[in-house]
Subunit: 164 residues, 2 copies
Amino acid sequence: MTRGIPPGPPWLSKVLHGYGYRYTFPREAVLQALSDTREHLSAEDVYLIVHGRYPQIGLTTVYRALDLLVKIGVVVKFDFGDGRGRFELAFHPSAKGHHHHLVCTCCGRVVDYTDWLEKEKEFLQTTEKGLKQKYDFEITDHLIQFCGKCAECRNMTNKVKGGE
Amino acid sequence: MTRGIPPGPPWLSKVLHGYGYRYTFPREAVLQALSDTREHLSAEDVYLIVHGRYPQIGLTTVYRALDLLVKIGVVVKFDFGDGRGRFELAFHPSAKGHHHHLVCTCCGRVVDYTDWLEKEKEFLQTTEKGLKQKYDFEITDHLIQFCGKCAECRNMTNKVKGGE
DNA sequence: GGCTTTTTGAAAATAATTTTCACTATCATT
DNA sequence: AATGATAGTGAAAATTATTTTCAAAAAGCC
């Protein structure tokens, strides 16, 4: 049963074919779910959205689609330390371009920021060039993330013990 | 049964007591295991070492000890994307000071590097100060990691599909 | 030494993710 | 447009890392 493809330009089709993969309904649906939000969705979050819209799509398939989209560079996977992967479009349509994450170690809140990127770029260029030369790695990606306590959590006077 | 404490200066005792925790044999043994290597051990790796030396110590206890040591800042936990946490001493006795990781996305090899830290420091100062002001976070930590392909893996002419 | 509370350890439980396998859809070739 | 080889899907079972449970044991204050 051909089920029709969710709305949206099927550029994914070209990308998938370019890598020798097939363009399928669940893969497009997963991409759509990620396009529709600015949040950092877990695999299950994605499943809930996708399965809500197209109940025939199962959790396993969502996991596989996410893996594949990460592999071909369309989606990026993050780890915020809560034991599950978080997924985002690599190039998000809604303004959300290159950004990094600021995670509150206390409440888990995640802030996306896009500031001070010039300074970062400088740093990255120096470092990536150096790493390439010294360790002979072809650098494909970097992970920059800051952890701290948000204002709200700081006001709760929590000691180390017991914490959280 | 008091089992005696593994060799090594019991500075851990002071630190633990300072936070209101007790100084115990398994906690010291876990710390020793991490001190004795420069590798990035998983919880099970640590268990194998510790349990090999002191068979009465169980896996659960190792997990709990690692959690606690992370909480009090003696140990740092990393994630290299293979689904399990990796642990390192925060301040390693053997030269291994402040460093970052370069991970091969292909074979999983991890290189510790300590180069270009001046440039990094500059970048971190600017960014951390900015984040604090703009988002009112008290920055406590950062995570910087580069991914790429090591020379060996590049020579294997592996296409995306099939990969690994 | 006795007492209170924390820690331990084995086993069971949990949670995220992966594998299995029979069935179905995609798409290059008729 | 039909066919067929192959890749993809989905439900359930399996796996893996980690956490919880709970009774027994150890730590450290009196």
